[in-house]
Amino acid sequence: MKKRYFYAALIITLFFSGQNFAQSLQGLDKSPLDITYLRPNKLSAPLIKVIYGRPIKQNDIVFGEQVPFGKIWRTGDNEATEVKFYSHVKVGDKIIKPGTYILHTIPGEKEWTIILNSNTDTWGAFFYDESKDVARIKVPTKQAESLDIFSIAFKQSYNNTYMVLAWDTTRVNIPIETKSQILAEL
């Protein structure tokens, strides 16, 4: 909660400090940015690219404490997490066009709401605009060994692709059908 006030204050400061902030060359962020690609193999062109900030566990419990349940989360840190699809994909029952989207989530104890939204290049989840949702699905949580750093990775089997959100002991496997899987269904 304190963190929220901190960010709110930070954002207000940013608004009013104008250009000064943009001029300076900044130090490293404490939640560094990372990139995850889904490529069928190491040499092929990417199918999906995720750019996300990687916060580090501070409380004993992340979800329900450090990140509250029932509230929209930037699913990372700093700038809203960005997902780029290089071809059509299917999330839930929605076919999503190639392009860049932001990923927000609403964490819950047993299931999370996963939101893809077209309001890109926004900070955190402060500018969330429901009218720009392109997909909204619910995904049950799973438990696994504890992980200190928020991570996003892809898991692929013969006919399934999952984007896995992982932090603390929580895992959320978001099913994403890639083009070949969509075609196989037809």
Partner: protein
Amino acid sequence: MKRNIFIITLFILFFVNSTISAQEFKGIDKNPHDIAYYRANKISPPIIKVLYGRPQNSGDEVFGSTIPFDKVWGVGANEATEIRFFQDVVFGDIKVKKGTYVMYAIPQEKEWTIILSSNLDVWGSYEYNEKYDVARVQAKVSRAEQIDVFSIGFKEKGKKVNMALGWDTTRVTVPIIL
């Protein structure tokens, strides 16, 4: 026939293996990525966005040493640095259409060559190929206080925006006209 089965098995093993390793969660990279935006003001939509890896040094000389002169450099670390223009711009002295490009540099003592390439989602400068060049501009080197972390920032100057690359005592400035 046996040989075919062997090859198929090998293929399946390879496939299964690669999917398992793809699921592993990696730690934080020692050269983390960062984003630099240029916006007319803090709440307006972005005009320029740079996504880049941030290598660090500990007081040693960087350019001409760790990063050699006269060789194409990925202007960062890990995945090649990406620059996106949300509108058409004049980059240095070359007109560039709105879109996303990979940025490379050839560092030199007094002047760098900055290259924009259309071959995206590549690693470092290993896959650099001149045939994808969109722009090549010369940029002056100046000196400033020592910084340990490679940084990219924007500075407004009248109708121009200067993109500054900074590391060690080196600063390189590319004027961009919007």
